[in-house]
Every structure is written in structure tokens, then in C-alpha cells.
Amino acid sequence: MPDLNLLLTLAGVVLSLMVFSYLLGDNLFFGIAMYILAGVSAGYTAVVLVTKVIIPMMIMPLADFPQIPALLALVPILFSILLLSAMFTKSSKAAGLPLGFLAGLLAALSIAGIARGTLAPQLLSIVNSFDPQLVVSEGLPNWTAIFQAFMMLLGVIAVLFYFHHRSKTKNSLQSPDLWLDGFSGVGQVFIGITFGAVFVGLFGTALSALIASLNRIIDFVRLWI
């Protein structure tokens, strides 16, 4: 193993132990590790943006100033100046212009994207799950596909009903009906299952990272044994 790799591995082991020290509480070593992470990440990101974005996309086009690409390059420069002005003046109206432009653009894209990329395909997926070609297999009912389709439909309706019923009961003082509560409870069950799956995934990701870090430390220790 080259010396540089050895040093990098040693640094990784030390930093990992410093992060693990958080188990004993928020201490100096954990703080140092966090500051190193934030500082290195910010510095590296700044370097990348300067070399790959600002210089080639903002500065270099200005060389062809009379041409259209150069004029277009003035637009991000103007927006950047407006954003920087917020650091030196109390009024943020000037900085609101590029931020408003960006926020409006993202909002429009999100609405269109959600409608076209999530709502419509997901609804079509639920409808297609009742396709006769799927629920019937070789002339016999495919009970697995049927059960899956009905559970999917039940889950969608129950969860939507749960949110609607929840907001309605909040605004009214009348005692809800029993069946409404029961159907809303079904929606809660689906939501609970979803959150449980997300939690398991989160823990699995963290466990994978833990195993990888411990594995590196053990491998490093084995080098010296």
C-alpha cells in the first residue's frame, strides 16, 4: 500500500472514530470532524463551481462581446450582481428579482412535472391493474393479481379519505360516524406501513454505512497485526 493511501486510510479511521465519539455526547472531537467535513466540502464545491461554471459559462463568453452568446452571458452576471447586492444593502428587493425568477421557474416545472410524471402515470397504473389480461390467467382468475389490484385501490382511496376526513373533522364539532372513522383508520394503516418501510430503509442505509466504516477500520487494524 503506498504511503499516501496509508495516510489517507489513517485519516479516515481517525475521522471515523471522532464521529463515533458522538455516542459519548457532543464533544470536541465530533465538532472537529464536523467542521472538517463542512469546510472541505464547501471549499471543494467552490473550486468546482469556479472552474466548471463561472469561468467557462460567465467569463469566457464575454470574449465574444458583440455577439449574442456574450450578451446572454450578461444576464447571469446581472443576476449575480443583484444577489450580491443583498449582502451589502439592507433592502433585498433587488435580490428578489433573480430569486423570484428562479422560484417561479421551478414552481412551473414542478407542477407540470408532477401532473405529467406522477399523477397521470400512477392513476393509469391503478386502472391498468384491473386489466382483464392481468387478472385472468389461462382462463382462470389470477387471484394474486386481483388481490393486489384491490389492495392498491383500497390503499389509494383510504389514504385520500383519511386526509379528507381528518381535515373535515377538524373543522366541525359534530361527532363523526363510525364507518367513517373505520375507513379513515384503514388509511392510517396504509400510511403506517409506508412509514415503517421508509424507516426500515433509512436504518438499512445507516447500517450499511456503519458496516462499511467498521470494516475499513478493522482492515486497517489487521494491517498492523
Binding site: 459559462m57 410524471g117 409506508t194 421508509v198 430503509g201 438499512g204 442505509t205 454505512a209 467498521l214
Partner: protein
Amino acid sequence: MSELADQLRTCPNCGQQNAMHSLKCIRCGEVLEDLFAFDDIDTDGEEPTPESISDVLASLNENILLTDQTESESSETAEDQPNGGDEERRSGDASQTPGWLERVRERTREEDSSGEMVKGGQAMDKHRSAGERSQVDQAFDEVIQRIREQSEKERKKTRKMETDLVDENGVPEWLRRIRELHPAHEQDTEQVLTSSQEESFDDEWTDEELQELLRREIGDEYNPGEQPVYNNLTSSDNPEIADDQSEEESGFLPIYEIPEDFHNIPDDDFDEPDNTKPTKPGNPELLDKDEDPPEAGNKDPNIETESQAGVEIQHLIDNPTDFEGGESEKHEEEENKEEFSIIESDTIGEELEEQEGELPVETEESEQAGDRDKKILKSLSTEEEVVPDLLLLRDQRDRAQVLTNIIEQEGHRTIPVLHEKNRQSKLGRLILALLLLAGVIISLVLGPGDNLHLPLSLPAAALQEKTAKLQSGEVVLVVLDYQAATSSEIEELAKPVIDALSYQGVSFRFVTSQPVDLWLGEELLPSKEAGLAVKIEFIPGGLLGYLTLTAGTSPVWGMTPIERVVSGGTKLLDETSLVMIISDSPDFVRNWLEQISPWHPDLPTLAISTSLSEAMILPYFESGQLSGFLAGHPGGEGQNQQANQRAWQVGMLIMMVVLILGMITKAEADAAEKDEGHNHA
């Protein structure tokens, strides 16, 4: 009440200012008979008109306030024997009653022969029976009760308004009063808390403090600049106490001018403008119950009713338990205590309980303050029985002490910080973490177990099938979007897939919009042995940059800035056979499917992500938007070769046990709490 307080009489013997209705001078005990005068009676000897005398005596009969205790005790006998009994009592009390009273009685007897009051009284005596008396008593009690309730409501409203008052600095009225009364407590808190100086600390009721308190209680009516008069805190309805008062007592005791109607109790029913109480000072407050009963009958129902009501009021005065004394006083004290507890115990009491352990000196000081108050009360009066007003003063003193303690705690932290965890929670987390670490380390030290050959999940099988169909020379666009924290999991999943594709002769194009992936992605690049020289391109602008390169078109006048830095420009996906998203964020996968994929619906999209994203991107696989994905540790392709399956299983097992134990513990705690709630209920 203010009119009464303004009316003072000067004693001809000692010059002492006395209340207008006082029978005797409160200093020298001189009978103030010459001071007794009515507003409409000429003191020069002119005979008043019969009507005026009649009205005065009628109002005297209706007065309930100023009947002395002696009269009350003998009232029962007078009622049983309205005629003969009065005669005997007049003769028996002749030696004890003052001269002015005898003159009043004389005038009353003169008035009896022709006055309306006597006629009404006789009519009342004739028609009154035991049943009627009880009905009248009951009706009167109801009226008094209603008046009292109404007065109580108004008093509470007034107190609330006074409590809500704040000055320009936002300091409440009550707090400002306490600060003014106890400036020493605020200025030098340590002096209070220091035990060595505690004895020397003057915490007694000083004259100035009491004067200030009196001035605040009775408002502008109290004028300390006037000649101070010691009043033994007794009203004129209790002349015996005034008789027992000696000159020596008044000499060393603090001298205050206290109106006869002064009390710390908020205005009660007696302050209500009812028909049973004359408000003018000139009215006969000195009604003697020994007045002759009416002799002439009067059939007028109005007069009869008024006279009857007056007698009933007199009956109530004679029997204080029916009206004000006894249980009524207890009830009123309980109400005061309840008000105190409602207003202050919820907030102040809890804080004091919390601070009880921290401020033992202050608690002791409160107890000592109570002892000092007892001494003060003892010195103020030689009577063993403590005047109720003074009890209320002590109650106010205790309140002031409580509020002073609160003022001293201003700026100090009284509740724990929210993020401050208790030691038990920290210890539990430490034990759990050490247990998990120990299990994972031991499994890692023992080495990888046997390959489990877990079956591939449906999305993983779809991904494997899709990648297997790629031919040599086809281009796969690999989009990197993950962080260093998840690189170990991502690389374990993605590296075998890329190696397999490179083995198939597939070409790659790596792009990313995350600066860190420029060097993290180098671990995923196909090995140089395959003869592929691949570099990672940076796409500025994140998802907007991808959208520009996929959905945009090149303008006629040249190239946009982003086309200058990205090779191929807007033809990023045009020559691509498959898109493989390697991301640890389900949001990025979803945004790609929402924003980018619709522009190239025929281009298959695969995803490699962490187990966190598995549940979130599964619906997109079900809908066909994702051709396949690989996520999570188990079921991932190639996991058996690189991942330590045993450590993974141990970690998951420990977490499952902890979760189950946590649920059981929580259920037991909830059940115990529920039982406690039932027990309290």
C-alpha cells in the same frame, strides 16, 4: 363609603377626630352625645316636623349596620315580649344607656302617638305569625343571596381589570405594587438570602408600609396628613371593645386613621345600594333596638311591608349567622382562598414547588414572615381573637412574599431546556449503540458467512434482464447523484452492474451535477483493463441543467453557454440507449422521471439507489416508468460477493429486538399511566 369616611366628628374632650357615627371617642372614651345630630334636625332646640322625625326613625329602624352587640343579644327577648319586655329592658338599661340615646327614645315615644312608623309596626306585630316570618326570612335570604352574587361578579370583574392593567413599561399593576411595597427585596436579593444578615433584615410591617397599604386600599379617602387617630379596627357596632381600650394601648401602638368601614375584604353586600342600608351619614345609624314598638295599627300594605322588612333586617343583625357571620364568613374566606389558588397557585405554586428545593432560605423566610405577622397582629391588638381584616392583611403579606420570590427569579431559568435530555435517556442510547457496535464488529471479525443466495427482487430481476439485452457499442448514460455517506452502499450495488456492462462492451457516459461525485464516481468507472477511458462530466444547474440538455434545442445564432461546456450539447440523450440513475435520493429519481423522462418516453430508465429509496420509487416501477431498479442491501445483485451479509443480519436483528422491546415498554408505560388516571379519577 367615601361619604361616610369624609364625615368626622371632633371630640370635645381630647380633640380626637372620630367617625360621625361613633358613640364614643376612640381615644378618651368620651360619650359623643352632643355630636349626635340629624341632617334635618335643628340642634338649636327647634322642634322638627313630625314627618321628618318619622322618616328618620323609619330609616333608623331599617338600618342594619350600626346596631351594637348588646342590642343584638337582647333582641330575641324583645321579639318574644314586644311590649312588656321592652319596658323592662328600658328600665334596666336606663343606667347604662347614654343620655343622647335616652333623648332619642323619648322622641320616639313622642312620635309613637302620631307617627306612621309606630302604626306600621303595630300592624306588623299583629299580622306577623311564625309562618309568615319564615317566609319573609326565606325571601329576604334569597334577595340577599342574589345581591351578594351580583356583587361578587362585579368584584371579580373589577379585580380582573385591575390585574390586567399594565403601565407603559409592560409591568402589571400587581407587580408594580409589590415592587413599591418591597423595594429592599428587589435591590438587594442577596441580603434576603444571606442567613447571617437575615436577622438584621427589616421585614416587619413598617408604619410607612401600612400607611401605603391603607392608602391603596381606601383610595383618596385616606389622608395620612390629617391628625392620626388610633382606631382599634373595630366598628361602631362593637362599642365594648372601644370601652376596653386604654390610653396606654393607644400610646405605644401605631396610630392610623382607619375609617370605620375600612376593611381589606372587597366590597361586599353591605356596599350594595339596597333599601336596607341608609347611605347618608345623617341617617340614624344609632338605632336602638329598645325603641318602643308601634302601638297603632296601620292597614297600609306598603307601610306594613317596609316595616316588616325592617324588623327582619334587625332580626338578621341580631342573629349574625343568618346573614354575615358564622358560615358566611367561612365561606367568604374560602372564596378568597379559592381565588388566590385559582389565580396564583397554578403558576406561582408550581414554580415555588420546583424552587422549593433550590431556595430553602426563601421558604424559611416565608415561614419567618408568617411568624412576624403573628407578632404584629398580637401587638396591634390585645384581643386574643384576631380581627378578620388583619388575617387578610397576613394573607396579602404572604402573597407579597410569593410575588417577591417570583420577582427575584426573573431572568433565571425555571424550566429545563427542551433539547436537554435526561441522564437515563443518554445512558439508554449509549447502551443501545454499544450493543449494535459490538454485534457488528464481532460479525465482521468473524468474517463473511456463507453465501445465502437470496432471490432477486422483481425490480432487480428486471434491471438485470434489461442490462443483459444491451449490445456492444450501445451507450449507457450514467447519472451520478449521491453523497459520500452513502457511497459504500451505492458502490456495492453499482460496481458489479457497471463491470458487467463494460464486460459486454457497452459504452458509458458519466454525468453528474454534484461536485463531490466528480471524485466519488471514480470508484465506479470501468476498470482500465477493459480499455475504456471514461471521465465524469459536470452538468451545471442540477435538474435544470439536465432539462436544458434534454428538452432544449440549439438556437440558430450559435450555442448556449451550457452547450459550450457539455459535450454534445442538447443531444445528451439522443445517442443514448439506456439511462442509469445512481442516486441515494428518491427525490432525484422522482424528479428525473417527472421532468426528464417524459421528453424521451422510449428511453428505458434504470435506477440504483439505497434501501431508503426502495419504498419510494417502487410505485414508479409498478407504473412502468422505471424499467428496473436495484436498492437496498438484501436482494441486491452482487451483494453476496462484496457485502458482509452476516454483519447486516446481526444489525437488523438487534434493531428488531430493540424495537419490539421498545413497543412493549411503551405499552406498559401507557397502561400504567392509564391506570393512574383511573385511580385519580
